[in-house]
């Protein structure tokens, strides 16, 4: 229409006015380190696999599982035995309760086992950045190199425990030929011989180990490695026959020698150590323990021993510990479950003397420094058997006399790259100074694999720049609905004593999905459109779900998008003047 001059204007003509010139700060999409990822000893990209799982359905679950597998080959095992540092760190704990990461991981792991998901053909694909690059994990980056196995070298792994198998898994995927040697008759190490079935079902363990072997890992059981240098090539500082030896070795024989303490005992006193007990139960040669069993110690192994004793028919299982519950090294959940199963505790007690059928207990008291001191008071405790669970030592024989290798406190000294003093020989798991958990061991495996790969390529393991941590304060939690955690079903305590069935069950499809969707996606965009929606200047362009571009021609830099981003994935940075 022929419009009146000036008074009447054509629609949207203000686009000619570039208000971006007003800006002194600009919003920038970022990617920050979620506390869960930060806390995971295995370096899992937890937030990413929860994000993948949130979609729901087999395809999403498999994508999430593959994301776990990029860092950890044992999702189903983790979902059972991990002590969940991620959940301790979870920001959601400050909102209502932490996301049940572990339970979702178990759900995904079990799905993989049930559906028989395999890594190949297909292989995992590295995470694609949603808002900005820099989200890839080093392993994911390495996986992209997977194509040519050509540059592959020979690597020996000693010990088929979580650490060794994890290393083998990653090295294989990095293109190396791996041989795993283990003294035992079955692979798994402490996962099999240290953790009772009621905490980790064996079919699950076997399935995840088989999946690793299926990658082409050579496993040699009942093989005790001695004289490590003889099997290493010259380049690795060894002297194997040309063309015979290995280019590098990862030693992870664990720690399964039960610590012995001198306890005055009568000849007929029945004493055994917990590691051996658990090992024999696993071998099917469980010893007769009698009606009343006393377990000496306060760690997780002590709990396992006591709970196992109950399952072997002991009417009474008493844990004797010289300190108090709050000082127990055992994880609280283990203690709780033990108590649920009728295990009793004797705090502030030491075993002064053992006789057939009874123990002499000395009462202790904690001094100001919290150290237990004898009181001189004694009492009798009737027990048919005493199980010692006073910790384990590593069998370091395999490294005896290897030049450059040093030891301290019963463990092997290693550098940040887990290499011992001897070039080409790496070590990890329970035999190096660290917390002795399956998750830490698996983490060592990945770390060692990366380091070995780098060493073999005469490169240095690219340590990714550490991203800033996405703390709770960086979030805008109003946008998250209140959603209490979903709890995993537990075997009725009364029914547990008689069976080695798993105590803790898994989530079903909907509860697992519910739990995954409780993730706050701390520090990383989850495509909620809040920035797009809340810009007063329409300066954010939405490409498709979760993909945005800021149009700096119009952005006035008010900062609402950053303030209203629920997960704190937008930062305001000053304009260059």
């Amino acid at each position: 229409m022929d419009k009146p001059f000036a008074i009447t204007l054509d629609p949207g003509s203000s686009r000619a006015n570039h208000t971006g010139a007003w800006r002194t700060e600009r919003p920038v999409y970022g990617s920050f380190l979620p506390p869960c990822n930060n806390a995971c000893p295995a370096g899992e990209n937890i937030q990413q696999w929860l994000y993948d799982a949130e979609e729901g359905g087999a395809e999403a679950y498999q994508a999430a599982w593959r994301q776990i597998m990029a860092d950890n080959p044992f999702p189903a095992v983790m979902g059972r035995v991990c002590y969940r540092p991620c959940e301790t760190a979870c920001n959601r704990a400050q909102l209502d309760t932490a996301v049940g990461i572990n339970s979702v991981e178990r759900f995904l792991g079990d799905q993989a086992v049930a559906q028989g998901w395999q890594l190949y053909p297909g292989g995992t694909t590295p995470r694609t950045p949603r808002c900005a690059p820099g989200n890839e994990t080093p392993v994911a980056a390495a996986l992209t190199r997977e194509a040519g196995r050509g540059g592959g070298r020979e690597v020996l792994v000693v010990g088929a425990g979580p650490s060794g198998l994890a290393a083998a898994y990653h090295l294989t995927r990095l293109g190396h030929a791996v041989t795993v040697r283990d003294a035992g008759s079955q692979p798994g190490g402490m996962m099999r011989y240290g953790i009772p079935r009621y905490r980790l079902a064996r079919d699950i363990l076997d399935a995840e180990i088989d999946r690793i072997l299926a990658l082409g890992v050579t496993l040699e059981l009942n093989t005790t490695v001695t004289g490590i240098l003889d099997v290493l090539t010259e380049q690795a500082g060894g002297h194997a026959a040309p063309g015979e030896g290995f280019d590098a070795a990862f030693i992870a024989v664990g720690a399964h020698i039960g610590k012995r303490a001198y306890i005055p005992a009568g000849d007929s006193a029945k004493i055994m150590d917990a590691v051996a007990l658990l090992h024999r139960v696993e071998d099917g040669t469980a010893p007769m323990l009698g009606r009343r069993v006393a377990v000496y110690g306060g760690g997780n192994t002590a709990m396992d021993a006591a709970r196992t004793a109950r399952r072997l028919g002991a009417a009474e299982a008493v844990v004797v510990y010289r300190r108090t519950r709050d000082r127990m090294p055992a994880h609280d959940i283990e203690v709780t479950e033990a108590l649920e199963e009728g295990v009793t505790m004797r705090w502030l007690s030491t075993v002064a003397h053992a006789e057939a059928g009874s123990l002499t207990i000395e009462k202790m008291r904690l001094d100001d420094s919290g150290f237990p001191q004898p009181t001189g008071e004694f009492e009798e405790l009737s027990a048919d058997c005493l199980v010692l669970a006073l910790g384990q030592d590593a069998d370091l024989a395999v490294l005896d006399g290897v030049p450059g290798v040093t030891f301290s406190g019963g463990t092997v000294d290693v550098g940040p790259d887990l290499m011992t003093g001897h070039p080409g020989i790496f070590a990890g798991g329970d035999m190096v100074p660290a917390e002795r958990t399956v998750t830490v061991a698996v983490g060592h495996g990945k770390q060692a694999a990366r380091a070995i790969d780098a060493w073999l390529r005469q490169a240095s393991a690219e340590a990714p720049p550490r991203r800033a941590l996405a703390g709770y304060d960086s979030l805008n939690p109003w946008y998250y609905a209140d959603a209490p955690a979903a709890v995993r079903p537990k075997l009725d305590a009364a029914r547990r004593a008689g069976t080695f069935d798993e105590v803790t069950g898994g989530l079903n499809g909907s509860t697992a999905l519910f739990e995954a969707r409780r993730c706050l996606s701390c520090g990383n965009c989850f495509g909620c459109d809040n920035c797009y929606g809340s810009c007063p200047d329409n300066a954010i362009v939405k490409l498709d779900a979760g993909h945005y571009v800021i149009d700096y021609d119009y952005c006035k830099g008010c900062g609402i998008c950053a303030a209203e981003c629920p997960c704190g994935a937008i930062a305001m940075v000053p304009e260059e003047s």
Binding site: E54, A481, F514, R517, Y532, G533, P536, N538
Partner: protein
């Protein structure tokens, strides 16, 4: 509907959009195809709540009317920053006449449409608190009384911002404005009786009255959409913080609006006729001081000494709202947040008359 519940209980339930929701259940603002009735290049201040509220509301109406909407605008910030010659930021048919006459102009537009048999095109009138609560009140009351088919939206930023932050009939007690300066024994605006236009609207018995804020997009869109289910006069009162006039950080615009509701100072509810049919429950209650502290217009309540007496009176006002509208009661399932997901637009034939 277990799946529904899980859909709802998930990351960012209250965010603009959610990749896990089906398109039709996402907010209009999350849609790449939203109308952008008020588009970029406008001259509103950084972090302008009114620019935000206007686009939220009108885009929702555009969706509800399938693009058949005409907007009338009272004089004020919104009009000035959106249409300075030679540019306009509006992408809809838009008419500005005067400060005090938007409701009457809209009545005329509606009458013309009715006379031409074009009742599928709907009319929205909009203005700030000055144009609504004060100078436009007579026209607005006339619109309500005649029950003309117009949705009137008031973007309330609680003062005359366009002219430099002078007091309006919507300015809250104790707030500092250029004409109620923070000086003397009782600094800021006096404690009057206030002028509660939503309740005045309800007193007219018009079909639909609602309040909303820019802090709860889904609620705002729901109400703008719901309003279009009715024929006759409808009133939507939207709280839109003004960084300039309130002395708040531009980045805090939505946060401040959120605290206004979470403190109970601004009750968010909807009414049919003279009956309140739902109130948005406070999710995480906060004391009024959380709200006041973010705004320089209340700075005199905290410095040089904290005016606990004044703050107590303001808190009492919030408490009255909480009691009156039951803002802390358990949400009844019919009005859970799930209902707040913008419903699909209804067809003209379904409209209540």
């Amino acid at each position: 509907m277990a799946s529904e519940r899980i859909r709802f209980y998930q990351t960012g339930s209250f965010a603009a959009g959610n990749r896990l929701l089906p398109e039709d259940m996402r907010s209009e603002q999350s849609s790449a195809a939203r109308a952008n009735t008020l588009t970029c290049g406008h001259r509103a201040c950084q972090g302008c709540g009114e620019a935000l509220g206007a686009r939220y509301a009108l885009d929702a109406v555009m969706r509800a009317t399938k693009g058949k909407m005409i907007a009338v605008n009272a004089t004020g910030c919104l009009e000035v920053f959106s249409t300075p010659f030679p540019e306009t930021s509006w992408q809809i048919p838009w008419l500005h006449s005067l400060f005090g006459n938007a409701p009457a102009v809209a009545s005329g537009v509606a009458a013309a449409l009715a006379a031409a048999g074009r009742t599928d095109t709907r009319v929205v009138a909009q203005g700030g608190d000055g144009g609504t609560v004060d100078i436009g009140m007579a026209c607005l009351s006339g619109l309500f009384e005649r029950n003309d088919d117009v949705l009137y939206i008031c973007y309330d930023n609680q003062a005359y911002m366009n002219t430099g932050v002078q007091r309006s009939g919507a300015t809250p007690p104790a707030a500092r404005t250029a004409t109620t300066p923070a000086v003397g024994p009782e600094p800021g605006n006096a404690f009057g009786q206030g002028k509660n236009v939503p309740l005045i609207a309800m007193a007219h018995g018009i079909p639909y009255t609602a309040t909303a804020t820019v802090a709860d997009l889904r609620d705002l869109e729901y109400k703008a959409t719901r309003a279009m289910d009715f024929r006759g006069a409808r009133y939507l009162h939207v709280l839109v913080p003004c960084p300039l006039g309130w002395g708040s950080s531009p980045a805090d615009t939505i946060k401040v609006a959120r605290l206004a509701t979470e403190s109970g100072l601004f009750p968010v509810f909807e009414a049919e006729g003279d009956q309140v049919i739902s109130a948005a429950r406070i999710r995480h209650q906060v004391p009024v001081t959380d709200y006041l502290r973010l705004q320089a217009r209340y700075a005199h309540l905290f410095r040089p000494r904290e005016r606990t007496d004044v703050i107590a009176r303001l808190q009492a006002g919030a408490d009255r709202n909480i009691a009156r509208f039951g803002l802390l009661e358990e949400p009844d399932p019919d009005h859970s947040e799930r209902v707040r997901l913008t419903p699909a637009p209804v067809h003209d034939s379904q409209l209540r008359r």
